[in-house]
């Protein structure tokens, strides 16, 4: 119980004093996660729409694999990205290992199947509703996909927020590819892991509370900005 109070008071102290390290780590966490979210959504949402609209061989297989990949172990993703970006790997020449870019790549790989699977569920339902209408209007495949993505945008927001939740709390993969380097690749989750390892539970807990507050704030902000609770729109 003492650690909990110490953590809370440490969190308050860090926030009130606008601790320089904390601000830097928090901004880096947001930068990495939001970048991964934007890139991941840009890949996953059209993919989900494509899978909803197009009928092709092995489609069910692709969907099953996508669903299975929702449980992709982050540590394994980190290991694979590490091997690809390391000096001896195929992309070693790019010098991306232990940079925020490497962390973004790992997070994108982790969240794309998650966002695509959740989005696909919503788009599949909407497609079954719209199917006859859009066929009768003779619209192109690309127009069908755009229509679904636009009309299901609020449900897709939930899919993207699930991706955000997964990415902001991720530690295994970004620890491996980012290296948790101070002033370079340290983010809230890796900082928590480090402080816990050092035995500074109060600071670790303080950072944890800030991480939770950050996740809730971003979720609420996105809901508010997109007016998802407006009457008749949710």
């Amino acid at each position: 119980m003492g650690d909990l109070w110490a953590g809370l008071s440490e969190a308050v102290r860090l926030l009130v004093t606008l601790d320089g390290d904390l601000v830097q780590i928090t901004l880096r966490s947001l930068q990495v996660t939001l970048s991964a979210l934007v890139i991941g959504s840009a890949i996953a949402l059209p993919l989900a729409a494509f899978l909803a609209v197009r009928r092709f061989r092995f489609r069910r297989g692709v969907i099953a694999v996508l669903n299975a990949l929702m449980g992709l172990p982050p540590v394994v993703v980190g290991l694979i990205v590490y091997m690809l970006l390391s000096r001896s790997g195929p992309f070693g020449v790019l010098g991306l290992l232990f940079t925020p870019t490497a962390m973004i790549i790992a997070q994108v790989i982790i969240i794309v199947p998650l966002i695509a699977s959740i989005a696909h569920q919503s788009l599949r339902d909407l497609w079954s509703e719209y199917h006859d209408l859009l066929i009768s209007m003779n619209v192109t495949q690309a127009q069908k996909m755009r229509t679904l993505l636009w009309d299901a945008r609020r449900a897709l927001l939930t899919a993207s927020l699930a991706g955000f939740g997964r990415a902001i709390g991720e530690v295994g993969a970004i620890m491996i590819v980012g290296g948790n380097i101070d002033n370079a690749t340290r983010v809230l989750t890796t900082a928590i892991a480090l402080e816990t390892g050092k035995g500074d539970f109060a600071l670790a807990l303080g950072l944890g509370i800030i991480l939770i507050a950050l996740a809730i704030t971003v979720n609420l902000a996105i809901h508010w900005l997109s007016r998802t609770e407006a009457e008749g729109r949710w």
Binding site: L133, S136, N138, D151, G232, R233
Partner: protein, 237 residues
């Protein structure tokens, strides 16, 4: 302007999962007036409309328009028994088919407002289409199908779920469309509606055309026993 008619249907049929839904059907349809497809439940009315429109897969035979199939598809509209509303406002629903065809936003909006006025939905332009009543939704679906000025409009029991007033309003729009040259092909259960709108009748039973004749002949002297029974109000199976 390219003419879609005559429409020639030869031994056309559609099946789903091995079950024959309609056909083989032979028809010759001219380019004017209203054709009403009638028949008991499960006779294949909806399947025939979908087949002619190209929304159901042709699994045998041929359907030939007087122009290329792609051209013909782009000049058709379809109104469903249960209107499908895009999750958008009334205005956006009306603008949608125009925008998909590349019409500029301002032109699309002007036309949408004009059509909303025609079907009496102009005070509701900013409302979500999914929040309209059944009758309002069907009028919106009708206006949305007609806003691209299709040469032929398919309607699958368009007033089945509507009350008398809404039915009258929808029929008024259909009569105006027919008068302006739009070819109507609609299915209905409503004998009165068929008499009010039909120029010719196709009577279907078990997916086969039992009778195809002008409306007066059909209602005054139906040729088949089943059609006579149907018009008497008997149960036809």
């Amino acid at each position: 302007m390219v003419n879609l008619f005559p429409l020639t249907v030869r031994s056309a049929q559609t099946s789903r999962r091995g079950k024959l839904l309609v056909g083989p059907v032979n028809l010759d349809l001219g380019g004017a007036g209203a054709t009403v497809v009638m028949g008991p439940n499960g006779s294949g009315k909806t399947s025939l409309l979908r087949l002619l429109h190209g929304a159901a897969r042709l699994t045998g035979g041929a359907i030939e328009w007087a122009c290329a199939e792609e051209e013909a598809r782009s000049r058709q509209g379809f109104v469903f028994q249960r209107p499908v509303m895009l999750r958008r406002t009334v205005l956006d629903n009306l603008m949608y088919p125009l925008r998909m065809r590349g019409t500029a936003r301002s032109d699309a909006q002007t036309l949408a407002e004009e059509w909303a006025h025609r079907v009496g939905l102009n005070p509701m332009l900013a409302r979500m289409a999914t929040n309209l009543s059944g009758g309002e939704q069907q009028k919106l679906a009708l206006a949305r199908a007609m806003i691209t000025q299709p040469q032929v409009l398919f309607l699958d029991e368009p007033t089945a779920a509507l009350d008398g007033r809404a039915t009258r309003e929808v029929e008024a729009v259909l009569r105006a469309a027919r008068a302006s040259g739009t070819r109507l092909i609609l299915s209905t259960h409503d004998l009165g509606q068929a008499k009010r709108l039909a120029d010719e009748v196709i009577f279907l039973l078990h997916g086969q055309v039992q009778e195809h004749s002008d409306a007066r002949s059909f209602f005054d002297a139906p040729k088949s026993i089943e059609a006579r029974a149907f018009l008497r109000g008997d149960i036809v199976e």
